[in-house]
Amino acid sequence: MKKILLVSGDSFSDKNFSTMIHPELDTSWPKWPKLLADKLNMECVNIAKSGAGNDYIYESLVDTLQKIDKERIGLVIAAWSQCQRRSYQQSKGLYWRTSRVDTKGDVFYWTKRTMRYWYSFQVLCERYNLQYKQFQMISLFQGWLNGLHQNDHEVYRNKLNPDPNFIERHIYPGNKEKDEKILTNMVLNYEDHINAKNFIGWPLYFPFGGFHVEYKVLRDANHQLLDDMIISKYDVHPTAKGQKAIAEFIYDRLELI
């Protein structure tokens, strides 16, 4: 019986991803978790969800691990998302919902909360001797500091009826440079608690040899998004080629590690 590759993440990893900005586009191409599972000759259990925050990614992994015989697990991967999102379950069906921006706390808390998820996920896997990897699929807090993009509904609406005054990004209300330094140091200072050999891209920042996967795989040497790797300038999710590139990139790092 094949071992299981268990993956949680956001829209970059969602097997059912569909683009709201280009609803006519068939996006049923294989996503990186399936491509990676095939390369590893494993069965893919992909619980990633579009829009998910890090609460969902941690909680869905812990829940799912309770339901699978641990002997069957070949590899567990957490592909972390942006820190400002907040996921929760609603109604009798306990459907997962995500607020794009948590209405409580600030970017320092959201970052610290994610760091606790990294640690808790790592401890869980090590406690049960599970093979695991984790990485930031998209930036942890830069998306927030650089000004969050309008959501896909708003981008789609504006694409249909362009508004000359359309603001593509919100403006970060704090001191971006100062806060980025503090946040960078928060992450760097957490190194003692992170098993860097299982954290692909640690410590996240280029000057220190780190990265998040989207930045490393879907962009050129000048950090510009590559046209054939992303759906469009409006929707920067990975194309079929982008998904393949992500799968190969992660696969190569499994071997290196």
Binding site: E59, V62, D63, Q66, K67, R86, Y88, Q89, Q90, S91, K92, L94, R97, S99, D102, T103, K104, G105, D106, F108, Y109, K112, R113, R116, Y119, S120, V123, L124, E126, R127, D192, H193
Partner: protein, 260 residues
């Protein structure tokens, strides 16, 4: 050198507890973590905070564990709070530091989710302590969901029900005060919530280090608030049901007897 007793909890465990309903009352009596540390001859680090929910308790314990030499830890205790609370951190510009804030009720989610979230915290706490090979205990100090049900019932009976929990008067807190519809509604909700705990994947995974698991008598468990503070003599008053000096002593003895 003495070993460390590390405790995280809510107002029932807070050594700086103040009574909101009786601000004039001197409540500086020793709280159970202090009494327990004395019995165990350990040095106390008490992270408990009035109003705290599960995220505060879990986060503060694991943050603190990352700053202490683990060989100095004698015992770690999580004294869990009520399920619906929301904890978060913000930068306090006046104090120039990050502080924890708590809301009595999370504006997102529903009780089933808050119960599940609590169970994940129990399991994560258990996993961290076992991984680090630390002696630990955990228990439900106050009821997971009954406070929320009473609050809902009071809100239904009260015109212009205030949002601020401090201004919410406990006009109901005894089963005989409920009418037939209210009693039925409460019982139905309790059945749903008990089923949520019983059917959870964590139900069988929480081990014997959880005193009173699975926290409800109908499931053969208990919370310490119900089990230990079983008469009015152990509480401050009818409106402030926090443990008084006697209640704190009872809690410390009860926990001490179950450390094994």
């Amino acid at each position: 050198m003495k070993k460390i007793l590390l405790v995280g909890g809510c107002s029932y465990s807070n050594d700086r507890f103040k009574s909101i309903h009786h601000p004039e009352l001197d409540v500086s009596w020793p709280k159970w973590p202090q009494l327990l540390a004395k019995k165990l001859d350990m040095e106390l680090i008490n992270l408990s905070h009035s109003g705290a929910g599960q995220e505060y308790i879990y986060s503060n314990i694991i943050d603190k564990l990352q700053t202490i030499d683990h060989s100095k830890i004698g015992l770690v205790i999580a004294a869990w709070s009520t399920a619906p609370r929301r904890d978060y951190q913000i930068e306090n510009l006046y104090l120039k530091k990050t502080i924890w804030e708590n809301n009595m009720y999370d504006s997102k989610g529903c009780m089933q989710y808050w119960i599940d979230r609590s169970l994940r915290y129990y399991y994560s706490f258990q996993t961290v302590c076992e991984y680090l090979k630390l002696p630990y205990k955990q228990f439900q100090m106050i009821d997971l969901y009954k406070g929320y049900l009473w609050q809902q019932l009071i809100a239904k009976r009260t015109e212009n029900f205030p949002e601020d929990p401090v201004k919410q008067l406990p006009i109901l807190n005894k089963p005989h005060q409920l009418n037939w519809n209210e009693k039925n509604w409460k019982e139905r909700k309790e059945r749903e919530y008990l089923a949520q705990i019983h059917n959870s994947p964590y139900y069988e995974k929480i081990n014997n280090n959880f005193i009173g698991w699975p926290t409800y008598p109908k499931l053969n468990g208990y919370s310490l608030n119900n089990k230990v503070l079983d008469n009015a003599d152990y509480r401050i008053s009818d409106v402030d049901t926090h443990p008084n000096e006697q209640g704190q002593k009872k809690l410390a003895e009860f926990i001490y007897d179950r450390l094994g």
